[in-house]
């Protein structure tokens, strides 16, 4: 009887150990896969195209984007992406890199919003190239969005509410998949945005070249696709819901040192 109890106890102790080692194996294989991806990042080409677009006179005003203010002053790009989204007095809005770039293309170059955001979700769009270039100028800078203006604080709050807001035919919120450590959908590892380090590991690598899509995905592209996977309707590009989510995620990832453009599955 006692021996039987011992065997049962040993089994009970063994089962979690087995599944933990299986999870460990999967994690180390995924690590290898990520290392393999690091060898060359096609996003570098997108970054070069973005620089060309930044310095090329375009639009009705035949002007470049070099005087665009992304939050640190006209034309000051170094570290700007790591401090977005933020409040801009001229638009009286909290804006992310993409909505701010669209604003600059409109005001400086005279492009319509439709022209500025043309094909934004398709590979090789102007926005994809410009965001890649702008984000790359924050390499080595820590994520630190300002929380000074009332609208900046409100945006983080709204983003947090949306993060936990359950809806749709599958009852999902962002938190369903992104609020626990060590979780995966199938073999895809999921960042836990409740944890500073895990949030950092995600946010420092966006925008990122996605091997499966043969394109660089911006943060808006990433978030709008998450919402699509949750079976929501398409969120509007450059909308406040998408900017609010970014504000919240950036705040969760504060202090993370930027490495974008990243490369992912």
């Amino acid at each position: 009887m006692i021996r039987l109890a011992c065997v049962a106890l040993a089994l009970a102790l063994c089962i979690p150990a087995l599944s933990a080692s299986e999870d460990g194996h999967i994690a180390s294989e995924l690590q290898k896969y990520r290392k393999m991806l690091q060898d060359g990042n096609p996003a570098d080409l997108m970054e070069m195209r973005g620089e060309e677009l930044w310095t090329m006179p375009r639009g009705a005003k035949n002007a470049t984007l070099e005087q665009c203010d992304l939050g640190l002053g006209a034309g000051k790009l170094e570290g700007a992406y790591a401090r977005l989204p933020r409040y801009f007095a001229d638009t009286d809005r909290v804006q992310d890199a993409e909505s701010r770039l669209a604003h600059c293309m409109a005001t400086l170059q005279g492009l319509s919003e439709q022209q500025a955001t043309r094909n934004w979700y398709k590979p090789n769009s102007d926005m994809e190239a410009l965001v890649t270039y702008v984000a790359a100028q924050s390499k080595g800078k820590p994520i630190a969005i300002p929380l000074v203006h009332g609208k900046e604080k409100e945006m983080v709050g709204v983003g947090e509410e949306i993060f936990f807001r359950r809806a749709g035919p599958l009852d999902f919120s962002c938190a369903t998949c992104h609020s626990q450590p060590g979780r995966r959908i199938r073999l895809q590892e999921l960042p836990n945005f409740g944890d500073n380090k895990s949030a950092q590991s995600s946010m420092i690598t966006w925008p990122a070249y996605r091997v499966s899509q043969s394109a660089v995905w911006t943060m808006e592209r990433r978030l709008i696709d998450c919402l699509r996977q949750m079976r929501y309707p398409d969120a509007d590009y450059l909308s406040d819901a998408v900017i609010a989510l970014q504000s919240y995620l950036q705040q969760q990832a504060r202090g993370g040192v930027m490495e974008a453009p990243g490369i992912k599955r």
Binding site: F164, A167, A235
Partner: protein, 208 residues
């Protein structure tokens, strides 16, 4: 109450009220932002996919940790939701259930990357659960269900529990992360019966 104490109590009360109204204001602002940010959604899409039902709203508000009275209300309302297959069989074909468990498509809308019309809506069980041992690419958002049938047995109670759990997990566990597959009309009662067979049938690879 002494004047000083009364003053402190009034201050605490005022503080609580401010906190509550600040939360309400943020909530109202959030709902307005959501509404404005899906401007392309039709009224039907809004109602079916973005507007929250009571359980969704409560679970969001309490971040999935509902206090006891709220949890009780969710349990009671969700337990009223069950519908069963017309033929009364709660256990269908495990082979059909196995297909359902692997299919992750269906129900994507919008202009960016909608599903082709008629795309099958899967249960996508493997996204979150380990099931058959041979399938390595299983997620871990939910518990492993490998050997579920061996553990639970084939009693009528076990079959009914499994069916109802897939139909509406929140009838057992308020604010469960698991989609309410039957309640939300994502899977039909017959499809849920197939999923039950995949989990419980001794022939199913889940129990091999």
């Amino acid at each position: 109450m002494r004047p000083k104490l009364r003053h402190i109590a009034a201050m605490i009360f005022a503080g609580l009220c401010t906190a509550a109204s600040a939360g309400d204001a943020l909530h109202a602002r959030t709902e307005a932002v959501v509404r404005q940010s899906f401007s392309g959604a039709s009224t039907e899409e809004w109602n079916e996919r973005l507007r929250q039902d009571e359980a969704q709203a409560l679970c969001s508000r309490y971040r999935n940790h509902a206090p006891p009275d709220v949890a009780k209300r969710i349990l009671e309302t969700q337990q009223e939701s069950f519908r069963y297959p017309e033929d009364g069989k709660l256990m269908g074909s495990w082979k059909e259930g196995e297909k359902l468990a692997s299919v992750g498509t269906g129900g994507h809308i919008g202009n960016i990357q909608p599903d082709r019309p008629g795309t099958r809506k899967g249960g996508n069980c493997y996204a979150c659960h380990a099931l058959a041992k041979k399938e390595i690419a299983a997620g871990n958002l939910g518990p492993s269900l490998t050997g579920f049938g061996k553990l639970r047995g084939l009693s009528p109670e076990s079959i009914k529990y499994t069916y109802e759990k897939i139909y509406n997990a929140q009838a057992f566990y308020p604010c469960s992360m698991m989609p309410r597959f039957g309640h939300n009309g994502w899977l039909t009662p017959k499809e849920i019966a197939d999923a039950v067979a995949f989990l419980l049938d001794p022939e199913s690879p889940v129990n091999q």
